[in-house]
């Protein structure tokens, strides 16, 4: 397949058929992850920089594992290790990295638009691993891939996104991708944690979780950042957990085969009850496993694009 995109900045760039072919590629790599020797030489001799200017454990490890299983050389750079703490600008940091000729830079950054900023200035591929509250395309892709593995076609399914949508790049990317895949999206959060113009988004918005959850095929919980209380957006965690935390009584109202998802890391007892996190309906660990396969697919497509062009 010919991959047309230099960078992955958000799922807005992808068509439905491109998303579906990513699922196929990820499924192919999934098989590798089940072998006793989990390594193929596909990206041997190619290198990827994992530049995480914002703390992250699971996304970084996921990309690192994905790169190593494809035999790519991966180099990690965190904010504390980089010269950003010495006052170097993002532009200079990434130009410095590019001068070492990587095939791809994976960027996690606290500022919305940061991946676009570096993609405009770099010749190598840029994969957005989360920029501010804007986008987290690899998370949205692995989430949809996980649902695709469960259900096959996603058309006509109903998915509830629950929690701090206002500040969530995961929610923004998921709303867009799920709509492209024909999913009916619902959202539930206190008004203070919804974007001001959420009514213009392609989703139904609920304040009452018991209503929101009725008949849904999956609930995607979002992590609540504990500083929202300090920001004046919530009175306290107890009230939030009682009103917007997902528990068994809500799950009883959903579709009988409902699936529960969470991008992690979870606050047990806040946005999700501990039993649900461990329940049979939970896909949380499948998401982690599928994250590696999906990121293998993405690294493969974005890092081999240039070579294919030359051929």
């Amino acid at each position: 397949m010919k991959w047309l995109h230099k960078d992955l900045l958000d799922v807005t760039q992808l068509s439905k058929s491109e998303a579906m072919s990513l699922f196929d590629t990820a499924a192919h790599f999934q098989e590798i992850n089940q072998r006793p020797v989990k390594k193929v030489p596909t990206l041997k001799g190619r290198s990827v920089v994992l530049f995480f200017a914002e703390p992250s454990t699971r996304t970084k490890v996921s990309f690192d594992v994905a790169a190593k299983r494809l035999s790519a050389d991966s180099f990690s750079l965190s904010k504390s290790m980089s010269s950003l703490t010495k006052g170097e600008t993002l532009k200079d940091t990434v130009l410095t990295l590019q001068a070492m000729a990587p095939d791809c830079i994976v960027l996690r950054h606290w500022s919305s638009g940061a991946s676009k900023f570096i993609a405009d200035r770099l010749d190598c591929a840029v994969i957005n691993a989360g920029d501010g509250r804007h986008a987290h395309p690899t998370q949205a892709l692995l989430d949809s891939f996980t649902m695709f593995q469960e259900w096959g076609d996603l058309t006509g399914k109903t998915v509830l996104i629950l929690g701090d949508i206002k500040h969530s790049r995961v929610a923004r990317s998921n709303v867009i991708l799920l709509n492209k895949l024909g999913v009916n999206v619902r959202m539930c959060a206190p008004r203070t944690l919804l974007p001001h113009t959420v009514r213009s988004w392609p989703c139904e918005v609920y304040s009452d979780l018991s209503e929101a959850v009725k008949g849904v095929n999956a609930v995607m919980c979002l992590r609540l950042q504990l500083e929202r209380q300090k920001d004046g957006l919530l009175p306290n965690l107890r009230e939030y957990a009682q009103t917007f935390g997902l528990s068994q009584r809500h799950i009883d109202l959903a579709d009988k085969d409902v699936r529960i998802m969470h991008p992690g890391p979870m606050n047990r007892g806040v946005e999700i009850s501990s039993d649900l996190a461990d329940s049979a309906q939970s896909l949380v660990l499948d998401q982690v496993a599928n994250g590696v396969s999906m990121r293998m697919a993405l690294l493969f497509l974005y890092m081999t694009r240039k070579g294919m062009e030359e051929e």
Partner: protein, 429 residues
């Protein structure tokens, strides 16, 4: 009456719809004649203006010249050069320098820089701080500042949070006959935003400033101006809600005047989402670019006089400061170089009338702040510029005179280029 000795004749200029010769004596407009075929200039100097249009020098009541303290962004010399080449014969510079213009020595330094670099150049009228250090805690020494040459007072950029103090500042400023200019923004709702709160900002995941954050402060200022029966000038109005409030206030007879900036007439937050310019910090400005409905409201309000004047809010920054993540880039657009071509373009396109243009850039700012101005009547100061209405130019580092190249128009083409500028009959560029 004895005929004045003519020093300068501007030949074949296109002025108010006809080709004329403009005679200038002692720095004043002496006479305007239809272009003569038989022509003897005598001892007068001749400026050939064939193919060029003549307009009175414009006045910009809102610029940031950054000196003292931030000379790497702009200084008095480069700022006045940009003004002269931009068609401006006078500018009012804001107080957010370092140190802040809250003592006479700072005001005097600004004026001295202007005199030293360019005694005949565009006039510099400093705006003094309304509160010490722009901190919003204590009144600035406005009598001292007025004596040193400040022509207005403002906390521009750092609006006074304490409404009672703001009231006292208005009262105290009125003793010196100098207008108070307010940058309207609710200090809590507007925090840290460089984009409008709306669909675009929500999609981009950026912290937005709602239009009500501006309108709330506009309402406060209008009520205070009415209560105190004092004049207030509202800086860079950007949204329809504010316009509605100002219209209401003017109908009640409140002494309020208002400005908007050229970028609010031509751009919206869509610029920040368009593929080529997504997240471009060149369009990060405070107040932020609003929605199309707000843009249209600015044009209507300017036409009907609800918005009295235009001002650039010229806010130059260094390239390395703007070329960073959107969240940490400073707010501001460099405007002196482009304001004329942008707004004359609106006149050419029939969006603004020529009368509105003249009022917004010349007569009304002069009346509000008490400056002289030229309308090409006999005895008016010979402050004018000549421009080529057909010349296209590309906005960029090579064509801008300001040190600040930070403009969302960068790379774009504008039509209309100033060729020469005269103040008091003296050629300044």
């Amino acid at each position: 009456m004895a005929k004045k000795k003519v020093d300068l004749i501007v030949r074949r200029a296109f002025l108010k719809g006809r080709e004329v010769d403009v005679h200038i004596a002692n720095g004043e407009i002496a006479e305007i004649r239809d272009t003569e075929t038989e022509f003897d200039p005598g001892k007068a100097e001749v400026q050939d203006a064939y193919g060029l249009t003549m307009l009175p020098s414009m006045i910009d009541v809102h610029v940031h010249l950054r000196e003292p303290g931030f000379e790497y962004k702009e200084d008095v010399q480069s700022g006045l050069a940009a003004a002269a080449w931009g068609g401006f014969g006078a500018v009012m510079c804001m107080a957010n320098t370092k140190p802040v213009n809250d003592v006479a020595t700072t005001t005097e330094l600004m004026l001295e820089k202007a005199r030293a670099h360019w005694p005949d150049g565009p006039r510099l009228y400093p705006v003094g701080a309304l509160t010490k250090g722009l901190k919003g805690e204590e009144l600035a020494p406005m009598a001292e500042l007025a004596r040193a040459g400040c022509e207005a007072f403002s906390n521009d950029g750092l609006p006074v949070k304490n409404t009672d103090l703001f009231r006292r500042a208005m009262e105290y400023a009125s003793d010196w006959g100098k207008p108070v200019i307010d940058h309207c923004e609710d200090p809590y709702m507007a925090v840290g935003a460089g984009i409008n709160e709306g669909e675009v900002g929500d999609r981009l995941g950026l912290n937005g400033q709602p239009d009500v954050a501006e309108a709330l402060q506009v309402a406060r200022d209008i009520l205070l101006a009415e209560y105190l029966d004092m004049h207030i000038h509202l800086a860079h109005i950007s949204c329809r809600k504010s316009v509605d409030l100002i219209r209401f206030a003017k109908a009640r007879g409140v002494r309020v005047t208002a400005e908007t900036a050229p970028h609010y007439l031509i751009l919206t937050d869509d610029y920040l989402e368009a593929p080529e310019t997504q997240y471009s910090s060149y369009a990060k400005v405070n107040p932020p670019l609003r929605k199309e409905d707000d843009r249209l409201a600015m044009i209507e309000a300017l036409e009907d006089g609800t918005i009295d004047i235009l001002a650039t809010d010229h806010a130059p920054h260094a390239e390395h400061e703007k070329e960073v993540e959107f969240d940490i880039a400073p707010c501001g657009i460099s405007g002196l170089d482009t304001a004329f071509a942008v707004t004359w373009g609106l006149v050419r396109d029939g969006v603004l009338s020529e009368e509105t243009f003249n009022r917004a850039w010349v007569t009304k700012p002069a009346e509000i702040f008490g400056f002289e101005y030229n309308q090409f009547n006999e005895g008016d100061p010979a402050d004018f510029f000549l421009f080529d209405p057909e010349e296209d130019w590309v906005v960029g580092p090579d064509t801008m005179h300001s040190k600040g190249k930070n403009t969302p128009l960068r790379g774009g083409t504008l039509k209309g280029r100033v060729k020469t500028h005269f103040l008091r009959g003296k050629k300044i560029v």
